[in-house]
Symmetry: C2
Subunit: 696 residues, 2 copies
């Protein structure tokens, strides 16, 4: 009875989110697109983005088909449930669907936001934020719908036990994870190849401003914002969301007594907290509005009001749930709070290190005085210093959530508490992702306003919205990294749980663990190198193409002929799809190779190594990149010589280096650390029985 009611409630909340997203989708779509030129440009961006997405899905489908066959074989051999192959596919499918919806609405909303800004700042903000909320609520809605539906099918219809059922759900998580990898890596390469390519030839060589319609890569650049920042970010957080809920449920099985109501409650708790979070997020969206002439601080405040309201509601709901459902483990409430707070704090410090309102980025732009080498060195060292606080925050969150959950008495419940912190952090994802997906929409709106020559006043409004988007993007990135770290941690604990800690020697002094740690720490470096090189190669092709168009299309520079935008979009698409294969393969193959040689102990070492080193590296790359970007903007705003000064040139070099840091390699590392764990979990049985360490 308890289970039936709760799963139904969860399903209902998931459907609520979807319904609300659909409603917002159509109400945004009903708005006017503005002038014909605006509609035209938006149409080009939309068709470019959709063309990329459909080709990406086709490429990824091959990968999913291959893995599906492998899973079917494994099921036939009895080493996984027959549900697993199908769960795996739905994981990928629903993640793709969420990406598709998010991108669709983002590419509808860009021109409408620009048009709304022609009326008032508030109108522009509302449209952009509404479209963001479509993305946010689609991600959480589809994620939770899928989990609860699978749970119901397997539990009530097929009668599976929780332990086996959770293993299937983890395969579902691997599906989401694989999809996320392709979306993040492919999208990240697309967006930065277009951006760097457009900048190098357009801004530097031809001396025309960003988003100038004469630049053949400008549509590709705008497509990239959607492909990378909307679809990629969405898939990343979809994975974290699903991964944290599922791994927490899996840990509940061994942490709490057999069969009793407390175990059922513990298994359901993460889903219920997520469900409460959805309702809280929906309510939170109503708090977002602003009035004309709002400063950036006020704009930021209006978004913050929404997320804080949702956080408070979510916390209250979690308290009610935990106090009634698990009266013997009231401490778990603190675990949820620890996670929520950690997410907010990491976001805050990301902003501190990367926003030009604070001293680190201001000092960075000052260092442009002595040239590009100095700004590079200082940017890297800024990023490196900025790793300290997030690590300490995560450390405290883990420690607190472990001990308040009762870790001193039972390690299993303590670790359940840690996983619950991840769920807590992600519970308000519906609205945090909305503020995040808002950014690229505002960015695109600015581009459309520029390209269609709207009035100065409108540009000023879209600039204000865009600048806010940069801040939310920064906090969003911090949040994505923080939640990826906690989720990956929960997944590692789930892996250990699935093999059984008693069957393993997980001491750091075990050479298998030790070598695993070494290899794991190296993987994020290697992975970042691969993705960075991919961006370089793809950007190079754009540079060549843009130069060709400037040379061959007569009258282009005079604005008399139209550039061939399609070819640039096409080149980015093909490069991104080709270049994403190798890094993706690394993420999937590494756990299998390490597992085969070093056994499960070595796998745990590798996962831990990749997590800790990847977390530091991802924070560093995101914050170095963000700070360079804003240091450049700070100079452009008239400081230290202003636009086109020697200092500005130095800052542009910093920004260009930062592009793949913050938008390709850094975020892709988030996925890597989760995917490694997911792959390890799914193939745990295979690795445990067949590895070289068994010979000794």
């Amino acid at each position: 009875m308890f289970l039936k009611v709760t799963t139904a409630a969860v399903l209902l909340c998931a459907l609520c989110a979807i319904a609300f997203a659909v409603f917002n989708f159509y109400s945004v779509k009903a708005k006017s697109e503005g002038t014909k030129q605006m509609a035209d440009i938006a149409g080009k961006i939309r068709s470019g983005a959709m063309a990329y997405l459909s080709r990406q899905y086709k490429t990824v489908a091959v990968f999913f088909a291959v893995l599906f066959v492998i899973f079917v074989i494994l099921s036939a051999a009895g080493s996984m449930s027959w549900f697993a192959p199908f769960a795996f596919v739905t994981g990928g499918l629903f993640s793709a669907l969420a990406g598709y919806v998010g991108m669709k609405i983002a590419t509808y909303a860009n021109s409408r936001t620009a048009n709304g800004a022609r009326e008032s700042l508030n109108k522009g903000l509302k449209i952009a934020f509404s479209s963001g909320s479509v993305m946010g609520l689609t991600v959480v809605g589809l994620g939770l719908l899928n989990i609860s539906a699978w749970y119901m099918i397997m539990h009530f219809i097929a009668g599976l036990q929780d332990a086996e059922l959770m293993q299937v759900l983890l395969t579902y998580g691997m599906g989401a994870s694989s999809m996320a990898l392709f979306a993040r890596v492919g999208g990240g390469i697309f967006t930065k190849a277009a951006d760097v390519g457009a900048d190098l030839v357009g801004k530097v060589e031809a001396g025309i401003p960003e988003d100038d319609p004469r630049n053949p890569a400008c549509i590709a650049d705008n497509v990239g914002d959607n492909v990378g920042d909307v679809a990629g970010m969405g898939a990343d957080l979809y994975e974290s969301y699903v991964g944290s809920i599922v791994s927490c449920g899996a840990l509940a099985v061994s942490a709490f007594g057999d069969g009793g109501s407390s175990r059922a409650a513990a298994v359901m708790l993460p889903m219920l907290i997520a469900a409460i979070g959805i309702i809280a997020s929906i309510i939170g969206t109503f708090f977002v509005s602003t009035k004309e002439g709002a400063t950036q601080k006020m704009l930021l405040g209006s978004l913050r009001k929404g997320t804080y309201a949702a956080s408070i509601l979510s916390a209250a709901g979690a308290a009610a749930l935990i106090f009634t459902m698990m009266p013997d483990n009231k401490g778990l409430f603190i675990s949820v709070i620890a996670g929520l707070l950690a997410g907010v704090l990491i976001g805050y410090f990301t902003e501190y290190y990367t926003s030009d309102s604070y001293s680190p980025t201001r000092k960075l732009s000052e260092s442009s005085e002595t040239g590009s080498a100095t700004i590079i060195i200082n940017g890297i060292s800024l990023g490196m210093s900025s790793t300290a606080l997030p690590v300490i925050i995560i450390g405290i969150a883990v420690l607190v959530s472990y001990f308040v959950a009762g870790g001193a008495n039972s390690a299993e419940t303590g670790l359940y508490g840690v996983a619950l912190a991840a769920v807590g952090m992600l519970s308000t994802l519906g609205i945090t992702l909305a503020t995040d997906a808002y950014g690229p929409v505002a960015d695109n709106a600015g581009g459309i306003a520029e390209m269609s020559g709207l009035e100065h006043e409108v540009r000023e409004r879209t600039d204000a919205l865009d600048s806010l988007g940069n801040t939310t993007a920064a906090t969003g990135k911090g949040f994505a990294i923080g939640s990826a770290a906690l989720t990956a941690l929960a997944l590692i604990l789930t892996y250990v749980d699935s093999i059984g800690a008693e069957n393993m020697d997980l001491r750091v002094t075990n050479p298998a663990v030790l070598i695993g740690l070494f290899v794991g720490a190296m993987l994020p470096f290697l992975f970042s190198a691969l993705t960075m090189k991919s961006v370089g190669r793809a950007a190079q092709q754009i540079v060549i193409e843009v130069r060709r168009q400037f040379r061959e299309i007569k009258g282009l520079m005079q604005g008399k002929a139209e550039a061939d935008y399609r070819t640039c979009v096409d080149i980015c698409t093909r490069s991104a799809l080709r270049e994403m294969i190798l890094p993706a393969a690394l993420g999937i193959v590494a756990p299998l190779i390490v597992g085969f040689i070093l056994g499960p102990d070595g796998v745990v070492g590798m996962l831990a190594g990749a997590l800790i080193c990847g977390f530091a590296l991802a924070v560093m790359m995101a914050n170095s990149g963000g700070a360079w970007d804003n240091a450049k903007k700070y100079i452009e705003a008239g400081h230290f010589g202003g636009k086109n000064s020697k200092n500005h040139k130095a800052a542009v070099v910093g920004d260009t280096v930062g592009d793949p840091f913050k938008d390709t390699s850094g975020p892709s590392v988030n996925i890597l650390i989760k995917l490694l764990s997911m792959v390890s979990i799914v193939f745990a049985g295979l690795i445990a029985s067949g590895n070289l360490m068994n010979l000794f």
Copy 2:
């Protein structure tokens, strides 16, 4: 009887090394310094270097005095042996002495090498290499002398048991470690502040070549080569050498049976292998010579002949020792070989990634075509990719040396095997360090030849010697990192051993270990950020001073007035000494704070995290930096537009970014990972009894 004979033999070999070093010292000093001008310049470099060193020692003395008092208090409280404070001081003192001697001879040898090159290439090579061998043999001689002398005093006179005795020797190791930290960080800041400062104003702003006597920072730049590359590198490897021998001895105590001859043999084995290595190194030095007109390949071959001969002799000696002394553990021989081979291979791959004879660096210089941002991105990604092979090599070395030592039956002997691999890698340090310390001497010789306007032919010879020095510096850096990793690993195992594995929960899933890992992984990032910022600040001051001199000293640019070199040296000295305090404090305080909060389990996590992440980061920084440096030189040699082209300018930016990477932050991380372990070991008792985790 066995012990008396063997310790006497070890002591004798150490004295041999010192005698040979003294002989080489005076035979180099007996050579002519060349023209008055050459002697004059060399004198300025020497007095600058010595002035820095003596002020550094004064600063460090305060630190040693404070720790000495703390150790005396701890001894009085009974928590460490009365020998410990004194051992600690001698560790620092002998490391300082080795640095002093190495620097003295390097600053004697620079003008003499230049003068030798006036006669023939071989003469130049011989003088430079002889002075390098003074450094190499002083380091190993003093290191082993100190260990064996303390061993004799404590064992034969005071009658201490091996377990307690080894603890004292570890305190001695901490002394060496602390000294190394100051030498590496201070020296690294000095050398790069001078280099970057001299380049930024001299090369870029004033357009005068490197080593031009009109540049007020040129003497400081040459002083820096000695201070950073000679004294810093020497202290680093002195620490690794001492650390690996002592930790291996300490691990022998618990790995082998009580009292039997096998335990005594196991304790003595690392010292004896080191002793054999000294003799092998001395013999190896006689293999080094070349003839006129030798290509760079032939020059490199002549140095290689020496190191390979020493390695083979050393391996043969180790075989003889192990087969006679430890007939039941013949596999340990393979451990030694694994270490030796790993050192050679890591050195080789460092060369592969950073030398312009191979494709990675050539491709990097090609990427200068699209500007400085591209060369930065590609250089970072080159460095990141280059972490893979060293990690795999270390992994294989650890795995092999563990299992051949019998790790499958007894973890303790397996771990002893791992520590022995570190000893094996470092056994031929006498000659590897000689080839390494040769580099800065050749570099200085080139500078002196340039500054005193020697004939073109002589410059060509010193250039050949210098270019060879760049290669040996690259392999030397790889070797230093590899040996630091293995030594740190041995120290971590020693730490666990000293607390007792049975008293700890070292599983990766223990939250204390987990958070320790997170914090540990972050420390190298934070530490690198601090040292990089230090270089930036110090270089800034040099820039201001050089600009001032160009402005205020009339006739300086026309070569009619002499620059005020002293002030530049002075500024570098003061900056380096001031800036080294904070990073040094981090290395010493971090293990205490982590230990106090997370207890010994957390400390192990932190040490492992710092080791794995620091290793990857150090390799990345060293190789990115080395590749940028050589990519620039490759362009200067006439490729991709040659000197003063647009491409060259881009490459100069890369080189400038790489300077603190490869010569300050990267090498300092080597020290950090060892020092953290040393501090943890020395304060192990204190931390184990008083930490917050005891409350749970």
